[in-house]
């Protein structure tokens, strides 16, 4: 009875939008919700297609990491994405509820021995596309803030 109740509860989880923040359960099915929220905010602010794509690619990498590595795909743990727009730049902060995931420990994706690996490029792509990346990993979760001039 209780297992059934919790199963239904998990399936009913949906994105929660509050101001400039969207929170989604750790399920990749919600990636388009985050993308739509982000693109809408950036477009409203007047950002161009190329910048929007760079930010959207980077945030999708961070949200994937937060869901799969940070929260370990637990549907009870949420990922939050906050968009802050100021004069000339957008800063997006992605936070999970995991144990503190450190992306720096990943192998160099450009090394010959890693070039044909199917995974391990996410944070490298983020660092390449964004102007600034700040990672704050604690035992209560990881927050990654990325900034891009727009």
């Amino acid at each position: 009875m209780s297992a059934c109740f919790f199963g239904v509860s998990n399936r009913m989880k949906k994105p929660i939008i509050s101001g400039n923040t969207i929170k989604v359960p750790s399920d990749q099915v919600f990636l388009p919700d985050v993308d739509n929220f982000l693109e809408s905010a950036l477009r409203e602010y007047g950002a161009g297609d190329s910048v929007i794509a760079d930010i959207a690619i980077s945030v999708s990498e961070l949200v994937n990491n937060a869901m799969m590595h940070g929260n370990k795909a637990s549907p009870d743990k949420m990922v939050s994405v906050t968009v802050s727009l100021n004069k000339n730049a957008a800063t997006i902060t992605v936070s999970d509820e995991g144990d503190g995931f450190l992306p720096e420990t990943i192998d160099d994706p450009l090394a010959d021995e890693n070039l044909m690996k199917e995974v391990g490029r996410g944070i490298f792509i983020v660092r390449s596309l964004m102007d600034k990346v700040v990672i704050d990993a604690t035992a209560k979760g990881t927050s990654v803030s990325v900034t891009k001039a727009i």
């Binding site: 388009p32 999708s60 070039l115 995974v119 391990g120 490029r121 996410g122 490298f124």
Partner: protein, 112 residues
Amino acid sequence: MKLTDHEQNGIVILEPRGKIMGGPDASLLHDKLYECIESDKKRIVIDLARVDWMNSTGLGILISSYTTLRNNEGELKLANVTEKIHSLLTITKLVTVFESFDSVDEAIGSFK
């Protein structure tokens, strides 16, 4: 992401549309590619003209498909790579791995 496909001269052309960002949408492309390989259709062109962007999940699918096809005497070629995706292939050095062409016809013509 949406995905359509058709055949021309015995070559499968896959046409994904939208954004390849992971999750169920990305599985569509992955599953279709492996369905082709299992059906012994091993000459494949991915037409990227209508893909807005992809992230590392999309790149991972391309690499997996390329490797699987090569190991089974098949070939994967890319057509109409957009500026955004080309930039991603360049910064990840994968531009040195994939053969890409300006049109689907050119890609088809390149198969021996």
